[in-house]
Symmetry: C2
């Protein structure tokens, strides 16, 4: 049996069964994007994520400076999803010997830029030789106070599903990168490509959301809305109904959907790594939280659905009354195209 036969998440389940240990200091262990480790009143958060050339990036689409920013940002987003404060990054590179030194230095300039934005110091790493593609692993360490930790578990039927910012821009940006001939204005093109290439981790927003006490579960959207809300449903043992007409899809992304003959909701649902936060919250608290988040960070919140009991399933309600069952339609590494 090959890993393409079972896909990413079943493979993670299998290795988690092999490697997981019960230890009182391991609050969240293997199987999540972030490990949560006891350290007195505070918790240590640790996460690692990679960017693989040819799979996650192409050298002629993303500059090394952008790639450095992106490689760090996607890890900062994982720390944000737990409402953590990122502190340190380790960077492991595997590079072909003929890589230009300038390319590596620009990558580090991007890492530094992104680190400076979020008070995260690059404190170490590793350099290895690769025979073919370039591989970048970034490990980020952070902290969160025990009372502010946000997990994927905790969502309750009746909660609202809420997201920050806008969804689908990353998918639209990827389409633009692959089809540069699509007739878009320069501003719209730049907006979508930026969202795709250099996403903004919602670190400050997550802290405000956690402090409000209103949120019950949280995740960052790194594999597409369908897959990531699925993780909340799995861990919280709940179902969900999302409302297609409430998804905050930008005018630029809608334009890409139109030009490529897709319903707009397909963009965020599938493999759109928007690195927005998706959380669940008590319905009566959403309005006040949205107002204070907008004031403190400038980032809007949008309710996009409601949490159901698990037996009710996971659905997207379309405007014409039809409902589409949410599968793990997000990004799945390894899985064969269906």
């Amino acid at each position: 049996m090959r890993i393409s036969d079972i896909g990413e998440f079943p493979l993670i389940d299998r290795v988690a069964r092999i490697a997981s240990i019960e230890r009182p200091d391991v609050i969240v262990g293997i199987g999540d994007d972030v490990a949560v480790l006891a350290d007195g009143e505070e918790l240590i958060l640790a996460t690692i994520d990679s960017q693989v050339e040819g799979v996650h990036f192409l050298r002629d689409v993303i500059s090394p400076w952008q790639l450095g920013r992106r490689a760090l940002a996607i890890n900062l987003s994982d720390i944000a999803a737990m409402a953590g404060r990122p502190q340190y990054a380790l960077v492991s590179l595997a590079l072909p010997s003929d890589t230009e030194v300038d390319w590596v230095e620009d990558l580090y300039r991007g890492l530094r830029e992104e680190g400076n934005r979020f008070q995260t110091a690059v404190v170490g790493g590793n350099m290895a030789r690769s025979l073919g593609s370039t591989f970048i692993d970034v490990c980020v360490l952070g902290r969160v106070h025990r009372t502010h930790l946000m997990l994927r578990s905790g969502a309750q039927p009746g909660d609202r599903v809420v997201v920050t910012g806008s969804l689908g821009d990353a998918a639209a940006g990827l389409i633009l990168a692959e089809h540069p001939d699509l007739p878009m204005t320069g501003a719209q093109r730049d907006q979508l490509l930026d969202r795709f290439l250099t996403p903004t981790p919602r670190v400050g927003e997550a802290a405000v959301i956690a402090r409000s006490g209103a949120a019950t579960a949280m995740i960052d959207i790194s594999d597409g809305l369908s897959s990531d809300i699925g993780h909340i449903c799995d861990r919280s043992e709940v179902g969900v109904r999302l409302w297609a007409d409430r998804l905050p899809i930008s005018a630029a992304a809608r334009r890409v959907a139109e030009l490529t003959d897709k319903p707009p909701w397909r963009l965020p649902l599938g493999a759109s790594d928007d690195y927005e936060l998706c959380f669940t919250a008590r319905p009566d608290a959403v309005e006040e939280l949205a107002a204070s988040l907008l004031e403190e960070t400038g980032t809007p919140l949008t309710p996009i659905g409601q949490v159901l009991p698990a037996r009710k399933g996971r659905w997207l309600a379309l405007t014409d009354g039809r409902e589409i069952e949410l599968g793990a339609a997000g990004w799945q590494h390894f899985r064969r195209e269906e």
Copy 2:
């Protein structure tokens, strides 16, 4: 300019100049194998190291179980070099889609085995798709009390240079893996291949050495003795004279040197990743430390040289009175063959 023109360590220096930040909580930052981060009376240690298929391992030479053990062990060794106590590991894999699930599970069984030996829990990681080779990054977190931290700096002229265990076995094991036809006994062959494929990090030994108060600087030998003692010389601003006839080279490794027409001291000096500890210590303290380390851990210590003032240079003294200047003759990624 390509990275093959300048080599690994100058490249690390360049990116360190770009990314390093002055922060009071970063005791040791980018440029070392391990980051040291303030956490009250204790320090957090964080390191990352990779195993790249075709560069560090070949699938037909090392089993996935051995590779899992090795990938964790080389990081545990970095934590040991600072006299730290490893606690947690994160594992990032990039795998071709046609990888057998069994292979991945066996890799994790090896990670678990090695983790259990050193009280290190695999608490998370990442799975990505690779288009070609397999890449494994392991990040290990640990702790050390401030008073026991061992650094590369601190060696003083007059100190002895001391190593644990035996040197050169890993280089000899690599030669055996490449030349399976060399006439060796099965036991010697197994001993050397084991040392090469599944090295033992000297975690317990490092703690004893640090507690003794006798050691002034320490490193683990991951790139070969010449390169690694060079790091101590760089950071401590000292020179060194090693004694070729005192290097603890096993009978099995001597046999490989003889069969391949090399002087035995070439094995440990070059790219032998033995993962032994190399430290400097006050001469009057070495004998007592050696006795207590042998009693507590079963591991012997051998004095192999002495620390000199920086201006005296870095030398290997041969038995015939000649001296060879130690360059960075160890393992250098990227560097062209000379």
